[in-house]
Structure formats: structure tokens, C-alpha cells
Symmetry: D2
Subunit: 294 residues, 4 copies
């Protein structure tokens, strides 16, 4: 199974390595300073797409109309990619951003629940490190609020609790609040009864859940970290006016654990291929017929 990794950051290189460690033949394109990495060949995008059975694009595949290749000198438009790729299957994150341009079958690995869950763990790890790095007090003993009880909220609140913080989680659904209390944390809704008491506030909800009125209720020395994808859920302007310590942290998995993030991309793609192929073993998948089914 010939796999072309096209562009992306360090975690895509680790994805390439993970495919290679699994026995796949791998080429990487879009890493111009890279001479070689283990057994991974370096090719141009054009060569790689011609050589491979399928290609893998980054979690965020497009940047300004071009394929997202921060480590490449060349720029490849999405249109050119589609033309060079032809009919070969493409695995990509956020596939809605490329779907219109590409006629080949596109499979979105980032839309898989297992990808999201495992990335939430990496995000939570990165968030913990960011907090400890930036917060001058200890997490142990601090009062912390986590807004949202989705994947990241679930893992992050648990980590903070384990590190000795007194954790409240704000969630809209009564059933989520029942879960929160079941795991020994305090539950609140988005009215934030005790908002002025938290030393640490994490937002995980991609909606305006901390507006100016909320910002005004926060402590002066609060540590405020927004993990929600842009534009986030915090009124950063008001936080800035008040001089609060406020960080909008994006792309943590690729930054704090690129190796794990790459492995997760590889694992998810392999699981998709196996399922498409009726659960057969990966080692038997190296033929073109399979890939036609993707």
C-alpha cells in the first residue's frame, strides 16, 4: 500500500513514520528541508501523487486556497492538487473545505469519533502543560471552572481534578450535570453562580459563553484559557481591557504531542480502510481493488 503524505506540520511527518512502521510504503511531500526520515522517501507533490495508491492531507488541508504545506517552498493550489491527484482516494481532515474541488473519493478521518476522542486527550494534556507553564500558582488547591462537557471538557476536567484542583464544570444538559456530579465534581450551568471565585477558567465551547458581562465578574488574577476553535467563546476584547491573563490555545495536539497526533491519524485511516474492506487484516490490504472501495 503506497501512501503519500502531502503537507502539514510535524504531526504529518510522524503520521508518515507511523505508516512506515506499520509496513506501508510511504512518501512525504511538502517538507522541503527534509532529506529523509527513516525509510520515508521525499518526493515532490506531483511525483508522490503519481506514485501513491492514495494520499493523506493534513487535519486542516487548505490554507488560503492552497494545500496547507508550511514546511514547503512550493505552493500548490487546491485546484492543481485535484488535477494531479486524479481519481485516487484522498484522506483528509475537515473535508468540507476540499470536497467541492476534488472529484476523487474523499474520506474525512477527522470526522471519526475515535479521532476526536483521542485528540481530545492530547488537547487536554497540552492544556495542562500550558496551564502549569503560565499559571504562577499551583493547580493543586486551585478553584477551576471548565466550560463545556464535550470530549475535551470530559478529559480536561478529570485531569485538573487529579492534579488536586477543585473543579466545577458548566454544562447545559441536566444529564451532563448528573455525570459531572457522578464523577465527584461540582456541576453548574452557564449562569456560573460562583464565577468570581475561580482562579482558573477553561472554555471548550465554540460559542460566546463568556461575554463581556461574564468577563467583568472574573477575578483580577484569573488564568483564562480558551480551547475552542476560532473565534473561541471568550470576549477577548473585554478581557484585554480588564488586563486579564487570557490565552487562546489552538492546535495543541500538533504542538504538544505531534508523535501521538500522527499515530492517531494513521490509526484512524487504517481503521477506516479495514472497515471498508470488511474487517480484513491491514497486511492484506495492499492492492488497488481495495482502494477502489474507499
Amino acid at each position: 500500500m503506497k501512501t503519500a503524505i502531502i503537507g502539514g506540520d510535524k504531526r504529518m511527518l510522524y503520521a508518515a513514520k507511523a505508516f512506515s512502521d506499520d509496513g506501508a510504503e510511504v512518501a512525504a511531500a511538502g517538507f522541503d528541508n527534509l532529506q529523509s526520515l527513516c525509510d520515508i522517501r521525499v518526493m515532490s507533490v506531483k511525483e508522490a501523487l503519481k506514485w501513491a495508491d492514495f494520499s493523506v492531507l493534513p487535519v486542516r488541508p487548505v490554507d488560503g486556497g492552497c494545500i496547507n504545506m508550511p514546511y514547503a517552498a512550493e505552493k500548490i493550489t487546491l485546484h492543481d492538487f485535484a488535477r494531479m491527484n486524479g481519481a485516487k482516494p484522498v484522506f483528509s481532515g475537515f473535508s468540507e473545505s476540499i470536497a467541492n474541488a476534488i472529484t476523487a473519493p474523499v474520506c474525512d478521518y477527522a470526522a471519526r469519533e475515535e479521532f476526536a476522542v483521542r485528540n481530545a486527550v492530547l488537547t487536554a494534556e497540552g492544556a495542562v502543560a500550558l496551564l502549569i507553564n503560565e499559571y504562577e500558582d499551583s493547580v493543586s488547591g486551585a478553584k477551576a471552572l471548565v466550560i463545556g462537557y464535550g470530549r475535551i471538557g470530559k478529559v480536561l476536567s478529570r485531569y485538573l481534578q487529579s492534579l488536586g484542583a477543585e473543579v466545577t464544570v458548566a454544562a447545559r444538559k441536566p444529564s451532563d450535570r448528573a455525570w459531572i456530579e457522578a464523577v465527584g465534581m461540582a456541576a453548574d450551568n452557564y449562569s456560573y453562580k460562583e464565577l468570581s471565585s475561580y482562579q482558573i477558567v477553561f472554555n471548550t465551547v465554540p460559542a460566546p459563553v463568556l461575554d463581556a458581562a461574564c468577563i467583568d465578574r472574573l477575578r483580577d488574577d484569573v488564568m483564562l484559557i480558551d480551547l475552542a476553535s476560532a473565534p473561541g467563546g471568550v470576549d477577548f476584547d473585554r478581557a484585554g481591557e480588564r488586563g486579564l491573563t487570557c490565552i487562546h490555545a489552538l492546535g495543541l495536539p500538533g504542538k504538544s504531542a505531534p508523535k501521538a497526533a500522527g499515530r492517531i491519524i494513521k490509526d484512524t485511516i487504517i481503521h477506516i480502510i479495514k472497515e471498508e474492506n470488511g474487517g480484513k487484516d491491514y497486511s492484506g490490504l495492499c492492492d488497488d481493488r481495495l482502494l477502489l472501495h474507499l
Copy 2:
């Protein structure tokens, strides 16, 4: 707000007490040996239904065509209940078993997610105690398998892990397995790779997930507990033939924590009433107009 608790076991008495502690007027019917309990009046079913604004039936409301009243001398058929109750709102568990017979509005508190989550905690507590009581070795250090990662599986696996067991959870969905690994446990699917290695096996899945072939792979000294509602998920006949220690544990919340179980019934009903009433406070709910909206 006049509330009639009709039948059920100890937890329904605690539900009555919880309503009373919340300021409601409460009557209990179907507890014949009971003279009085705190401020709760004891009435006949007929009197109670006449007196009350609404009634509350047990989690399992029907037993052999009659209202489930294990502590009552009298037997009331579902039909008689419906006639005596008339048009007053009825809160009940498993309402599908009474829906056809009753013309009044019926609201199923047991169908609420928050009820299910909080009961899962009680089930898991009861399961832990049952295990420690019956298992002659220690939980600490034991290899345990939990089958299923629904509500009970989630809480129970966490409790076993906290008590020092080495826990594997079997789940069908890759996303569940990603979660299981995210919280530091081993994940497996229903093929149970290491089935012969577990000292403790809990089933939580109401489907035949441990058939005769699986039973034959278990250790001789396994402790096997099925928590799934009847008929459970274990081939008990085969387990009996092999002489395995095997328990089908049902109704744990009512047994191990009747007080909490009663409070959860009360809380859930109050939340339903509040929502129906547009989020207004419970203290203002004591009039008939509200109840017409139920």
C-alpha cells in the same frame, strides 16, 4: 402540591420523605405495616388518589396486572387504578407498561437521562459491595473485565480501577474503546482476547454477550456478576453446569441505596415539573393550574 406515592419498595418511601422534606404535602399508599413516617400521611390508594394533585408510581409500576405494591395487603389492578385516578397526572417508571390502560397524562421519570445516570452510580456502588462481599480474594490486584460501556459500565469500570483492579472494558464501538483507553483502562471488543485471564467478570449488556463458548473459556474460580436486566446477557445454564460462581444482580439501587434512589425519583420529577412550568421555582408550583400543563 399534594403528592401521592402509590406502592413500591423502600425507595418509594424515601421518595415520599424527599418530597416531604422539600415542602410538599405527601401521602403514601400501599405500605400497610406503616403507621406513619415523619410527616407523611398513610392512606388507602383510593383516598390518596382522591386527595392528591398527582400520583407517583414505582420504577416498575405493574406486577402481574396489578400495581406493584409488595408491602400492601390489598391488590389494585391497573384498571382499578386508572378508574380511581381519573384525569390526574401520573408519574411512573417504565410507562409503556401502563400507557394503554391510563387515560390521564403519564410522565415517565425513569426515561430521563439524568435518572438513568444517577441510578447507574447507585448500581455501580451496589455492584462493588456485592463483589467485595462475595469474592474471597481482594479486588485490589485482580484482573477484571467489564462488558459494555454504557452508563453502568462507565461508572463501574472506574470504581473497580480505583479499588486497584486491572480493568479491561469490552465495547463494540471504536469511539468507546478510544474513551476506555483515554481513561487508562484496556479496551477490547466482544471477542474477549484474554477471557481466560479474568478473576472478575461483570456484564452490563442486555444481550447474549457471554454464550456457552465464552463461558467455557472462563477460569474455574471466576466471579461472574450479570447486572443486565432480565434475562441478562450470560448463559447461566452453562455457567451452572461448570459450577462457576455466578450472580444475576437486579434492582441494586433499591437494595443498596434506597434513600438515594428515592431522592433521585423526587429530583427527577421536580425537574420535569419545573421545565414544564418554564423553569419557575418549585415553591411556586403548588397550584392546580400548573399541573394541568403536565
Copy 3:
């Protein structure tokens, strides 16, 4: 290595089995209804002491001047035991109760730290089950006080916390209180600031730490469990006068996990033998010269 297990309860039988599983030759005496157990021979005390290289007495070796043999018809005085045993090494718990009577070398396995730690785990497990069995509310969400932060207090407080209780630990030493807070629990001293707020109170301190004045500050519906060895640390008379639910729980390891308790006795004795023998392997220990060094 011929080992004689003399008396005791179920856990001593499991200790016998654990020695046997490890490859030792084992005889059990003092279990009159027992015909055979796996490969363990049943002998009279006299025969067993004659046959064996060394003997193992129960954790509490003496009961009313006789060897503690609850499952035996015969009664053997400590004096007779000493005479029949002669000069052979004796492993025993609480050896101070037999030291004066016995001239042979006596080694106290229960005095070893590892024995105490591992038994604390069993005690904590048994205490958790006792609590869930007897307490009608849920542990999850309850306010619990654990008095003492020795071995049992450390494990038990952690277990209660994992089961969702809000745990306070009372300890005398500031360093213990620092540890308690470090693991996310509240720390108090023996003045018990919030004594009237706890639904669950465990004592682990063998000293009068809950006197009549303290008892009077407890809630009416408190669940009070004393785990300290007789006479315990609770004013039971006053608790009885107030009608509180109060349990003095003793010997939990032997009751809730006899198999693990037996294995711990065996492990500890083997570790002692290995150390005495300069760290050499157990398999090489089956000769009399070694035992002379005990």
C-alpha cells in the same frame, strides 16, 4: 519445606493453599470438618508439629490461654503447643502474646510493614462494602470524615473519594495534613470543625478520639463505623444512648477477603525466609539448615 498451619479461620486455610501452590508441602491442623483441601494434608496438631519444619499460627494466635482454633473440636493450651513444638521455628501474628510461653524462635509476620500495608487494603475494601451494605444513602455525594491517616486511613479515604464522597481526613500531624490536601481532600485536626455535617464517619485510631461530647455533635442519621482494634476509639455507650447507627468492625480482612489475607501471610513469611537466607531463592530453602537461621 514442610509447613504446618495450626488453627485460625478461613484465611489460614487459604494461607495453607498459597504455600501449597508455591510448591511447599503443607499440613493443616485445627480444621476438624475439613477432610482435605487440594494437596493439603489434614493432621492433628501433634502430628503436624512433629512432621513439619516450621509452624504458622494465626494473626491472633491465642484465645483464652489456648491456641486460636475456632474450627477445631480439640483445645490446645499454649503450654501444650510449646511442648509439642519443641525447638522448631514458629511464625505467628502478635507474637508478644506467645513469646513468654515458647522457647523456640518466634517470628512475627504481622509486625512487618508490608503485611500491615497489604492488610490495610483489605480492611479498606471490607469497610467500603460494609458501608454500602449498611448505609441507605449513596456514598457518592456524601460528606465523609475519616479519623486518622495511618495505613487504613490513607487507603480508605482514597477509596471513598473515588466513590464520589466529599472526604475530610482528621490528622494530628501538620505533615499528614499537607499530604491529605496534596491528594485533593480536606484536612482537619481532632477538633473536627464541621463534625455535625458528616453523613459518614470512620474511625481508624485506637484511642478515644470520639468521646461523648463529640458523639453529641454528630447528625442523627450519621453512619458511624469504628475500624480501630478493641476497645476502638468511639464512645459506644453514648452513641447507643443517642440511637446512632454505629458499627465496630473488626477482622475485616479475614472476613471480606480471606483468600487475599491468606496469600499475604504466605508472601510475608516467604519474604522473611528469603531475607534471613540472604536473598536466595525460595526453591532452594527446603532444608533444615536454613531453618536453623530463622
Copy 4:
């Protein structure tokens, strides 16, 4: 109570602030770029020692024969400090490094168990952040070894476990190993049976526990962090020759949580003063007679 904070890093400034927040009058000396901080006066060392009732030196009070004042332009020898201070009580860390030079009563706050425990928590937090920052894979799912089960080993191993690592702790004492297993981790001794399997290795033991032979058994991609005070417990030369990723992390509390580290210094000194004063309240301590008792 007039308190002079003399030198040190950011955490000593936070200690000054903590004293001030507690109602003490505080002067800080040795922070030359500092104009003012909250209500804390800035003085020269000489002025501060003259003005104060007692002084507080840093955790490591001496650096090259002078008081450790990294943020000061002036250099004050220990000898000059002793002369200027006269007979006033001095609180200091590692007091053996100043004891010979100073005739006034010296009290070592860093020698207190509570100080050590609470700093271990900060060290563990800092170590977790360092690991996540530097390690390109995820902590979740990694095999980790923690060498030593003292204060830092206890907290750190628990944190790593909570973050989803599979943790082994190496300890010399059987009782420590019993504890390690009691909290659900694997225990090993210093022969490190599976040394080649760990992705993460932390040392906490200030003795040569990872010599060249051990280093040679580690994985190529191991992340090796030594937390033991200089010279550490790792053969860094050999690790360097092998090209392993190896960090000797010192002074983590002052770096990752200076605010908490300062508060701990303040708390410990207050506890010492209260105890010396028979447990009386801090608010009554503001007179010279008390301090004579230190």
C-alpha cells in the same frame, strides 16, 4: 510583626506578598529593579534588617559565600549579613549552610515535613508540564518508570497514572512496594526488570541509581528526566554519549509555581511561630517577646 524578606527569586517576592496579605508588615530587600509591590516596602538589606523583627532567607540562602540575591546589584557576604542582623531570628532554608556564620537563632523552614510535602506537589506539577512540553508523544498510553517512592515519587507517580500512563515505581523497601501496588501501580526494585520498555523515566533519588549499565538498557527514544538535586542520580555522560533525551530539572517549584512556593514558605514560618508560641493565634504574635522565643 515586621518581616524582612532578604533575596531569592520570584517565589521570595510571592512569600513577601503572602505575609503582607496575612496582615504582616513586610519589607523586601535584594530586588533592585523592584520599585514597589502591593504594600511591600523596598529597602536595602541593611535597612530591612534594622527595621524588621525577623528576616527570611531563600530556600538556598547562600551562593558563593554571599547571600543568594540573583535580582540584586549589591553583593552581601554571609559574614556581613550576620553582622548586620545581629541577634534577630532568621528563618532560612538549608540552614546548615549558614549555621556556622550566624549567632542569632536560625530556624530552618525547609526542614519541616509540611514544607517538603507541599513542595513535592509543586515539583510534580512542574515535572508533568516539563514532560508534556518536551516529550513528542502523549503521556496517555506511555509506559513510565518513576525511580524512588519518597515525597516526589509518590505524587508524581500518581499524576502520571492519572494522565493515563502505565506506571511502574522502583523502590527498595518491600513496604513501599506494597504501597505502590496498593494504589494500582506496578512495583519494581532497582534492578529494573523491564528497563528497556519504558518511554518515560523519572529519577527522584539523589544517589547513582541509573549507572552506565542501566543507561545502556534504555530505549533510544526514551525521555529521561532527573529530578534529584545535584549531582542527580543519572550517569549523564553515558546518556549523552548515547544521544538520549535527558534533562536534569532543578528548582521546579520556584519556576513553575512561584506564587504557591512563596505561600508555602509563609505558611510554614507561620506554623512554626504559632507552635513556638503554644498554638496561639498569629494575629496576637506581633510583639518582640514572642520572637525571643524562636
